[in-house]
């Protein structure tokens, strides 16, 4: 049996909301085969600075279920902090996704962001 690094297949529906985002959106088919450890680092460095309860809601991998993380990443262009997202490469976003997804609330190893 293969332990299974599960590859998520997400159907892309490219909503074109604005010309600026359309380029970014084209590649956001996130899978959880990025670098989990790098993702943790990037999340803590870039997201936790606000999402620690100071200026935005506290956020840890176990704040959301895996399905919820999936949805969040699929539609991140709707988020207030989309500009921060756009500063990161697709590879980096995939790393962050991998970390959050792998440690989501209903994952085998739910994690707080410590």
């Amino acid at each position: 049996m293969n332990k299974g690094k599960k590859i998520l297949t997400i159907t892309i529906i490219a909503f074109i909301i604005g010309s600026f985002f359309s380029v970014v959106m084209a590649a956001d088919n996130f899978t959880n085969d990025g670098n989990d450890r790098k993702g943790k680092y990037l999340f803590r460095k870039n997201c936790r600075t606000c999402h620690d309860g100071s200026s935005a809601a506290t956020m840890s991998p176990n704040t959301k279920t895996q399905a919820q993380w999936e949805r969040t990443f699929k539609k991140y262009e709707r988020l207030e902090c989309v500009e921060e997202w756009n500063k990161r490469s697709q590879g980096e976003l995939k790393d962050v996704y991998t970390y959050l997804y792998n440690h989501g609330y209903d994952s085998p190893q739910p994690a707080t962001c410590k």
């Binding site: 049996m1 293969n2 332990k3 599960k6 790098k38 680092y41 209903d106 190893q109 739910p110 410590k114």
Partner: protein
């Protein structure tokens, strides 16, 4: 006579050359002038007697203690009568802790190996030299292997462990390996597969308690060990299943000598009865659970008559137990226990236990199995650099080597064991899997691990198959052990760093989850006797030296290094540990004072809270968000989603016995056998052998026998008794030590690490300590 004395004392004469010896060099005095006039008796300290609250560290329970300190010496350790978790109890080990700081055997100063490894040649070095030496070796290993995970870090639980992780994270290795897979990883995995977390049992309020394989009267867990004895006389019913008539069995209303490795069958049959007789909690099942119909279908074949053949317990007894359990629900407990490193299918056993609790609604209510609550402490939001030269855990990257440590039957997919045969399905990232880790190191698969740090763990004694552990240590180019005593593992180290005892150190606040959640902290009960340090100080010292070596920081973002120096080193490690503790408690006004006074802190007077997972909208940590009787994730991973009965994969040959191991109430694993007070209770271990079997072999009680497995052989006294089934033998762990220095435990009795085969549970990565078969003959 007279002449001899005269001549002997000639040095006292005028011509003695000894007078010339007066010209000793400067700065040689250990004594210095006291800051007052000699013979000024008024300045002498008056006799003092103080009572200082702290918590015990002789085992994992951390019971409340009050040290009685007379004239600076710890005179006695008393139980803290107000402590909510230990209920005013202090066991023999806790009492014997009084001798720990005063053991002449303890490590006193950093030691550096000068001879061959294990030869026992050491020299003293200063802490500064030690820190430099360790940092240099870390840098060398990192340069040589270009992979920070080439250094592994072993440890076990304890308040100072979090500072060990400061060192680990500052170096950047992902190879950490903890005690969990030697102990309760299967339990955590099995219960979590149903409820999403590992619960406690409310023995203080239960009416009916079913214990399988837990000997709470000997292997003490607070408050359980106190509660089951305290509340039993109030009419609580206790049913014990164990191949041995244990001390717990002696307290029980009924003891069933169940055939080893068949507990799952007994509980499956109970579930069968409860479902077929419609005794389950319909409302609970409907509201909170997922997969009941599948479960019902699965257990249909597991009738009490079927189970009787497996467990060798009469079907009627199983039926009776099932009905009683359902009658008393929800105040019925199927006891989760703690160590569950028993069999290769153990996760499914524990899943079955949890399912029984679930269908009877014995969850999160008074007298049932209850999820742990905890008091939230403020964490230090520490950011370590991202190191590029770090590979994933060796026991995760290594695929396919586990075939060497699983029973051969697991590798045969036709048998359908429901167990993976190439890797561990749910490896915990921090705990790792001891057996898999060691196997990967031995095979250099997928990469070489050549550095080994060990804090408070003694793998030479505690990990099954000692020969493999020794081989693993031989492969290491650098071994650093941080310990209180020269353990079997420390003896093979290159450098040994002496850690202060729990009675001499400041330990950070720690939130201990449970039905009665508390926060604990340690303050020094006495001043350190020797030049020892705590992990907080040791990590700080090593990290400071690491910062002086540029090559240790060349694979990170330079900005991260600046942040690290400020946020981790200056703001935490360079500050007094009391600052660290005060920050942890920042959201709990008065807690620090309370901890100094009482050694523990509670919220709401420490009263339990029930039912938080039963409130509308609560989501269990599972795929469906419900209590999963049918585990969706297991299905996804190709495991049994339901607790299908697992037939034994390994069977004894004729003449062989299944080997069981356990504990006594007066020793903690391998760490306390040399304690002088505890040694008074027990001076060696003995192997339990059934009277009938002994008779066949002509072995009499008290006689020495040889016990042999495929791993090794030990010599031990026989305890011939009716209290054990004929198909198994048993002894307690921690004896028959390798170190002649463990003078009291050296070659006294037998070691389990020399006997137990390294068999792996491939769901959790835990070891299976009861999958070894032995033969016995007269010594």
């Amino acid at each position: 006579m007279k002449k001899k004395l005269m001549s002997r004392r000639k040095f006292l004469g005028l011509s003695s050359s000894a007078i010339a010896g007066a010209l000793f060099g400067p700065n040689l005095n250990m004594l210095t002038a006291a800051p007052t006039d000699p013979f000024d008796y008024s300045i002498l300290p008056k006799g003092t007697r103080e009572y200082i609250a702290s918590n015990c560290a002789m085992c994992v329970n951390k019971c409340g203690i009050i040290g009685e300190v007379v004239n600076g010496k710890l005179h006695k350790i008393n139980p803290n009568p107000r402590h909510v978790k230990s209920r005013g109890m202090l066991c023999a080990k806790g009492n014997a802790g009084v001798s720990l700081p005063y053991s002449p055997d303890r490590l006193k100063t950093p030691l550096l190996r000068t001879g061959k490894r294990g030869e026992g040649k050491w020299k003293e070095i200063s802490w500064d030299e030690a820190f430099k030496y360790v940092a240099k070796n870390l840098a060398d290993l990192k340069q040589k292997y270009e992979n920070r995970s080439s250094v592994a870090f072993a440890s076990t639980e304890g308040f100072q462990e979090e500072f060990y992780y400061y060192l680990v994270n500052s170096f950047g290795s992902l190879n950490t390996v903890r005690h969990t897979t030697l102990c309760l990883s299967t339990n955590i995995q099995g219960w979590s597969s149903v409820f999403g977390s590992f619960p406690d049992a409310d023995l203080a309020n239960a009416e009916y308690v079913l214990m399988l394989g837990s000997d709470r009267a000997q292997a003490l867990i607070t408050p359980d060990s106190v509660d089951f004895q305290r509340y039993k006389p109030k009419g609580q019913k206790l049913i014990v299943l164990d191949p041995r008539f244990t001390e717990t069995g002696a307290k029980a209303d009924r003891w069933y000598p169940i055939k080893p490795r068949t507990d799952q069958g007994f509980v499956l049959a109970m579930i069968n009865v409860i479902i077929s007789e419609n005794l389950y909690d319909h409302k609970f099942v409907e509201t909170y659970t997922h997969g009941f119909e599948e479960l019902k279908e699965l257990v249909a074949e597991y009738t009490p008559e079927w189970a009787e053949k497996k467990c060798e317990i009469a079907a009627d007894e199983i039926r009776k137990t099932a009905r009683e359990f359902a009658d008393h629900a929800p105040r019925s407990v199927i006891y989760p226990g703690r160590r569950s490193s028993f069999y290769s299918h153990e996760v499914y056993v524990r899943q079955t236990f949890a399912i029984l609790a679930a269908i009877c609604g014995c969850w999160d209510t008074k007298g049932a199995v209850v999820p742990k609550s905890s008091i939230k402490l403020a964490s230090h939001d520490v950011m370590f650099p991202f190191f590029n030269l770090t590979r994933d855990r060796v026991d995760r990257e290594a695929v396919n080597l586990v075939k060497d440590v699983v029973p051969s039957a697991v590798q045969c997919p036709m048998i359908g064991t429901g167990l993976p045969d190439d890797s561990c399905a749910f490896l915990s990232e921090k705990d790792g899997s001891w057996i898999t880790f060691r196997e990967a190191v031995l095979q250099d698969d997928p990469y070489p691990v050549r550095g080994f740090f060990c804090f408070k763990q003694n793998p030479v004694q505690s990990v099954p198959n000692v020969k493999k552990t020794m081989k693993m240590l031989e492969k290491m180019e650098f071994i650093c052990v941080i310990e209180q005593q020269m353990s079997d593992t420390a003896w093979y180290a290159d450098i040994v760093l002496p850690h202060s005892t729990y009675l001499e150190s400041w330990d950070p606040a720690h939130s201990i989850g449970g039905i009665w959640p508390i926060v604990e902290m340690r303050q020094p009960v006495i001043k350190p006797l020797f030049d020892t340090k705590t992990m907080f100080e040791i990590s700080g010292g090593i990290i400071h030296e690491m910062l002086k070596i540029p090559s240790l920081w060349d694979d990170i973002d330079p900005v991260d290094l600046v942040d690290f120096k400020k946020n981790v080193v200056e703001d935490i490690l360079d500050k007094p540990i009391q600052d660290y503790i005060k920050h942890q408690l920042v959201n709990h006004p008065g807690a620090y004072k309370q901890l100094l006074k009482e050694g523990f802190y509670t919220v709401d007077g420490g009263r339990p809270t029930y039912g938080k997972t039963l409130k509308p909208g609560f989501r269990f940590k599972s795929k469906t968000g419900k209590i999963e009787l049918f585990n969706e994730r297991y299905k996804e991973f190709g495991l049994f989603p339901l607790p299908k009965y697992c037939e034994p994969e390994i069977l004894p040959d004729p003449g062989q016995y299944r080997f069981l191991v356990g504990r006594t109430a007066w020793n903690t694993h391998t760490s306390t056998q040399n304690n002088p007070y505890l040694w008074e209770i027990q001076k060696e271990n003995a192997v339990w052998l059934n009277t009938g079997e002994a008779k066949k072999k002509g072995i009499v009680d008290g006689e020495y026998v040889r016990i042999k497995s495929k791993i090794g052989e030990q010599r031990i006294k026989a305890y011939v008794t009716e209290k054990i089934r004929p198909d198994c033998v048993f002894y307690v762990n921690g004896w028959g030590r390798k170190s002649p220095g463990m003078s009291r435990a050296y070659k006294s009795g037998a070691s389990e690490a020399e006997i137990i085969d390294d068999v792996l549970d491939t769901i959790s990565g835990g070891v299976c300590m009861h999958e070894t078969f032995v033969t016995i003959k007269k010594a």
